[in-house]
Amino acid sequence: MKNMFKLGIVLALYATAACIGLAFVYSGTQKTIAERQQADLEAALKELFPQGDSFEDITGTIESPDSSVAFSSQYAALRGGEVIGAAIQASGPSYGGPIVVLVGVGTDGKISGAKILDNQDTPGLGANASSATYYVDRANKITFYSQFAGKSISDPFEPKNDVAAITASTITSRAVASVVKASGSAGSVWLSTQTGGVR
């Protein structure tokens, strides 16, 4: 019995030592991780709204119009204190699981850009949705996601129609298109409430 306690305590000592070490590593890296995530987010938002000078977290204010598309976080893009657009991080079901897209919409009712944050679809097929080297229009170097920039939210967003689809990946193409459409229109509606009417 005594031996048992002794061993238990030795084990506990090792565990404690290891964990304390980990705690330091954690607190050391955690800051970097958080900073990096923040920086990534800002960079992404900045990419969507190059004119924006600050971004405000407005998560929770916009509701998804499409039951299969879920909104996780939302940001308002400001320029000199004035709202110039909204960015929505949304996810919808695709071939290999939910696909997460950051969609920006401007006050002009046009998509300012879409950025695919997470995509678990098949490499070489659905995964091309987020690839920077897969062009739907090779001549103009337009990637799948970059084709959304400048599209009007009143468009039908139908792959193989007004959206160029990824070869042999209709499912992925549709998923992205519908996420972009849902986010865009919801963002647009919200924007209209901010500025008191369509410009």
């Binding site: 964990c19 980990l22 705690a23 590593v25 954690y26 499912i171």
Partner: protein, 191 residues
């Protein structure tokens, strides 16, 4: 996702062995015959569910509130290792016949990716407790299914005139590859 979808998806579509490449060591090592496959499958099912029942609450009620998520790996693996040991002790005493048939597999389970993988999945996929348990069962049965199928194939290739460079393990991986191709048919079954 409904529970059924979670189950089917874990069992077939994202089959832990054939589609996600987890638990390959026992997949190759323990599929020599059907009895072993079933024994191992049952042992894994049992331990996976048990591990889920312990680690899920631990994460959600202890680690997360205390801000100690970074201890997840350490805590989970320790708990699984201890659980396997406890079960082994218990079975040896309480059910020697069950131990004789299942016990030999228990020792192999501590280092089985599937179990740790499932406990991590439960967290990353954001499952509730019941969902986590169903998922665990689905994964473990999927593991057993793939083991059984490979055992059947192994039985057939036992007397086949394999080319020399395929003898032994290589052919098992080829068989697993073709099996995985067949399972591709389930892709997209549940969206």
């Amino acid at each position: 996702m409904t529970l059924f979808k979670i189950f089917i998806s874990a069992l077939l579509i994202d089959n832990i062995v054939l589609m996600r490449f987890l638990a390959l060591c026992p997949f190759i090592g323990m599929s020599t015959d059907e009895d072993k496959s079933i024994g191992m499958g049952l042992a894994v099912t049992f331990v996976t569910v048990l591990a889920t029942c312990v680690t899920w609450p631990l994460y959600h009620f202890v680690l997360l509130p205390l801000g100690l998520e970074f201890l997840q790996i350490l805590a989970f693996i320790l708990i699984i290792a201890a659980l396997v040991q406890l079960v082994e002790f218990y079975l040896k005493k309480a059910a020697p016949s069950l131990y004789a048939s299942m016990g030999i597999y228990l020792a192999l389970i501590t280092t089985n990716c599937a179990i740790l993988g499932v406990t991590f999945d439960n967290i990353t996929k954001g499952f509730g407790f019941i969902e986590a348990v169903v998922y665990a069962i689905g994964v473990a049965l999927g593991f057993m299914l793939s083991l059984l199928l490979l055992a059947g194939i192994r039985k057939r290739i036992k007397t086949s005139p394999l080319p020399s460079f395929m003898k032994g393990t290589p052919i098992l991986f080829v068989a697993a590859g073709l099996l995985s191709m067949a399972f591709m048919g389930f892709a997209g079954l549940v969206k």
